[in-house]
């Protein structure tokens, strides 16, 4: 018979694709992005557009230099996903060149210099964010006050001017417009010996975490549940990370609630929920075995607490993820599941 194919089994076309996986994650981020937009203004959208453009540009250049299939890899949506995750960590008014630098390190250095898609030992988005955080510490901490307590919400023009030309919105100074994040406030307060309940009296705090932040976290969690439902991620990493955070911070809080934030505050402030569902679940740079995922998640949770408490940056999720990335291959190597019948 003419035209019959020869092929190895299985013969059914696979129902999933890399692009499909990445698209799912992007869709799952939509609620979080919308919440971010609501609380911190249009800046996040501009940051996403900028980061995605830079990412695609660098991705295209790297693919060209490496002689890879442009059409295939440019459309796999992995670079845009990296860019969106990166942008979600940035303060909404970060200058464009900071974003560009971050994306360069994320896409070119962390991803392509290590062999491209599937080969990067470190999470590219977190590498990019860490570079921005370390290289431009002042700009990277220029956060705005969330809706509800903000004196002034920058409009589209303000945002563009700020990002492109570093002109602070509303004719104010950067110091006047920017607001410390809840984790910053806790950190500064604690270093001055102020009790946690007193610190929490600040308008920037909400029910569990930071005002606005906790709702963004809820939206990320919603997206995370969508990913769990669609089986894009498994529950191990998020559960391990959140449980580890709660369990490890509980004794301190119970012993002395005046100097230690409550476990749920840890969970709902900063990037912990985003990290738990979207960053630490990155398959390429994380663990793939089930037990490995447990260890990885616990490690990220514990290191986040350690960095928050003793490190020199207010939030530790990005660094915790990068540190565990380093350990992931080793963990995976030593936690083989029991083979059936052994």
């Amino acid at each position: 018979m003419k035209g019959l194919e020869s092929a190895g089994s299985p013969h059914w076309a696979p129902p999933t694709s890399i692009r499909g996986v990445m698209l799912h994650v992007l869709l799952a981020l939509i609620p979080g992005v919308l919440a971010h937009w609501y609380f911190f203004g249009i800046g996040i959208l501009i940051q996403i557009i900028l980061a995605v453009s830079f990412a695609l540009l660098f991705e295209a250049a790297a693919l060209k230099l490496r002689g890879r299939d442009m059409r295939l890899f440019l459309t796999d949506l992995s670079a845009p996903l990296t860019a969106v995750l990166f942008a979600l960590c940035l303060p909404p008014l970060l200058p464009w060149w900071a974003s560009m630098t971050g994306m360069f390190f994320a896409i070119v250095v962390a991803k392509h210099l290590y062999g491209g898609l599937g080969h990067n030992p470190f999470n590219p988005a977190m590498v990019g964010y860490a570079v921005v955080l370390i290289s431009f510490p002042v700009h990277a901490t220029h956060w705005l006050a969330p809706a509800g307590i903000a004196m002034y919400t920058p409009d589209f023009q303000d945002v563009i001017r700020a990002i492109l030309f570093q002109i602070p919105p509303g004719g104010m100074t950067w110091d006047a417009i920017s607001e410390a994040t809840p984790l910053d406030v806790i950190r500064t307060g604690a270093s001055q010996g102020i009790m946690i309940p007193e610190i929490r009296g600040d308008a920037i705090f909400g029910d569990f975490g930071g005002r606005g932040w906790e709702w963004i976290a809820n939206c990320y969690a919603l997206g995370g549940l969508f990913l769990l439902w669609r089986k894009v991620i498994t529950w191990h990493v998020p559960v391990a990370m959140i449980l580890a955070t709660i369990i490890a911070s509980s004794p301190f809080w119970l012993a002395n609630p005046d100097v230690h934030p409550a476990p749920l505050e840890h969970v709902f402030t900063g990037g912990l929920i985003l990290g738990a569902f979207f960053i630490a679940t990155d398959p390429v740079s994380g663990c793939t075995t089930r037990r490995g995922k447990w260890i990885f998640g616990i490690g990220v949770g514990l290191l986040t607490l350690v960095i928050r408490r003793w490190g020199s940056f207010p939030d530790g999720v990005a660094f915790a993820v990068l540190l565990m990335n380093m350990a992931a291959p080793f963990i995976d190597r030593h936690v083989n599941p029991r083979t059936f019948g052994k």
């Binding site: 076309a13 999933t16 694709s17 059936f340």
Partner: protein, 519 residues
């Protein structure tokens, strides 16, 4: 080990790791009764349709044969006799492409049907026959595992004892394949009687038939047959959830008993004997009716088949005849598969004859095989690991295969892979994982054989060296001892001197008589 078996089957079910819920598309082929395909024209019976050593032909070209008459036999304990599928003439015995993933040529006997289909019958056996007689009859009458493995049934049953439990596998693991389901619907008594004979051949009295929970009504049909035949005390029927690859022997055993067949071991290590329901039916035909195993029910189905159905055809019937019986193939056929969509192999030559393993002829269309997207790098998402029924780590095995690290592949239990294809099916990077594992297994086997060959030739070489050395040593010793004897001299003193004196004497004595010859 048997102590760990459940008291009663079906009260509790276990789960095997991984697995997939697949759409099964079985109804497609279950719309009409099993149709018999009359033997006609040429039948190509390949010798290679049993595991174990190949038998040798006992017929010659030109010879006439009856249906069920032996055409090949072996002397090995694992050997199973092969029979003529119908009455007619042996046209040729030659190398022809076989029904195999590689379509490699192998010895085949070509038989032209005479259309009369006269049978050669074996004596009918029943429960009164001894265990030994039944086992020998199974081998002589060509009964092998019809689930696809073609393992000689007599060897399996012979390995058990009175404590063994017989598990009949009615859980058709792959989508589309419906021949076992149809057999259970239409011929439950054959299966149950076959099970009874198998128990007799085993010397045991406990059998459980595992079927899938999507086979509506099959349990009732089988149970009715069991009750009619008064075998309720011996045989039970249990429904198991339809999760691919449920029909795998190890998976079914886990679900029914909670026990895991040891890695590298066999069900018998747990006191279990696992047979396909079709094999039970064939056992009944072979023993109770004296008819050699020369036919099987195959499902001819798929989106590219006009009228899917189940067909009982003689072994060696060309694929083409089965396909025509099912109304032929549609024009958008993309792959013709022997077996199911997950584990089957593709064929191109439809003149090949079916074997005892051919449970399904599946014609897929472009709609289903279509998305032949390029292979992307592995992103280690671990989906393959989630679905692996052997709890392996397919992604790691893939990396080791890529770097040709066969030692690590083996150390990571490559040989526990049952090639079910679940990993490759869920891979978002579209990596043909099973191909890598098959290659790895073949390579490791090849190297092992090479190593054995190398050891053997080294041993041969060393033995030769030793032989030469020993010979040399013996020669040296002989020389040595002779020299010693000469040097040591006889009892009269210097032997050399004595010999020289003797020679001189002789010379002196013979000198006058003969002249020294001129040189």
């Amino acid at each position: 080990m048997t102590a760990a078996l459940p008291e009663k089957f079906g009260e509790r079910l276990w789960r095997f790791p991984g697995g997939l819920r697949l759409r099964h598309f079985k109804q497609m082929a279950c719309q009409s009764a099993i149709q018999r395909i009359k033997p006609a024209g040429l039948h190509r019976v390949q010798l290679d349709q049993q595991c174990g050593p190949e038998p040798t032909f006992v017929v010659e070209p030109g010879q006439t044969v009856l249906a069920g008459e032996p055409i090949a036999r072996g002397s090995d304990p694992l050997s199973v006799t092969l029979h003529a599928p119908t009455s007619g003439t042996v046209v040729a015995i030659e190398q022809r492409p076989t029904l195999h993933a590689s379509a490699r040529p192998g010895p085949c006997v070509i038989i032209e049907a005479d259309g009369k289909d006269h049978w050669f019958s074996y004596p009918k056996l029943d429960q009164s026959a001894s265990r030994q007689v039944l086992l020998e009859a199974l081998a002589e009458r060509g009964v092998v595992g019809l689930g696809g493995a073609l393992f000689p049934s007599h060897a399996k049953l012979g390995g058990g004892d009175q404590d063994s439990v017989l598990i009949l596998n009615g859980a058709e693991c792959e989508p589309y394949i419906a021949c076992d389901e149809m057999l259970m619907r239409e011929r439950p008594e054959q299966i149950v009687r076959g099970a009874e004979l198998m128990l007799k051949a085993l010397g045991s009295s406990r059998c459980v038939i595992g079927i899938e929970d999507t086979m509506g009504g099959v349990r009732r049909t089988l149970m009715d047959a069991v009750k009619r035949l008064g075998l309720k005390a011996l045989i039970s029927v249990v429904k198991v959830p339809t999760i691919y690859p449920e029909g795998g022997e190890r998976q079914l055993i886990k679900v029914l008993t909670g026990l895991e067949v040891p890695s590298g071991g066999l069900p018998i290590d747990l006191g279990l004997i696992c047979h396909n329901v079709a094999t039970a039916a064939a056992t009944h035909e072979a023993l109770a009716n004296g008819a050699a195993c020369i036919s099987r029910v195959s499902t001819v189905t798929g989106p590219a088949i006009e009228k899917p159905g189940n067909f009982e055809a003689r072994i060696g019937t060309p694929l083409q005849r089965l396909i025509s019986a099912a109304g032929g193939m549609k024009s958008d056929v993309s792959r013709l598969v022997i077996g199911g969509p997950m584990m089957g192999f593709t064929v191109k030559d439809t003149s090949t004859g079916i074997t005892k393993a051919a449970n399904c002829v599946l014609a897929l269309d472009w709609e289903e095989t279509r998305r032949k997207q390029p292979q992307m790098p592995c992103i280690r998402c671990g989906r393959c690991e989630d679905v692996c029924p052997a709890s392996l780590q397919p992604q790691k095995l893939y990396f080791f295969a890529r770097e040709e690290n066969y030692e690590r592949m083996q150390a990571d239990d490559l040989f526990d892979c049952i090639e079910c294809g679940a990993c490759a099916y869920v891979c978002p990077s579209h990596i043909p994982l099973v191909d890598y594992y098959r290659h790895g297994k073949a390579e490791i086997k090849h190297r092992r054989e090479e190593a054995i060959r190398a050891t053997r030739s080294r041993q041969r070489f060393e033995a030769r060296e030793r032989r030469i050395a020993a010979k040399e040593q013996a020669r040296q010793q002989r020389l040595e001892s002779r020299k010693k004897k000469l040097n040591a001299g006889g009892p009269d003193g210097d032997a050399v001197a004595a010999a020289v004196a003797r020679a001189k004497e002789r010379k002196a004595a013979t000198k006058p008589a003969t002249k020294e010859p001129e040189q």
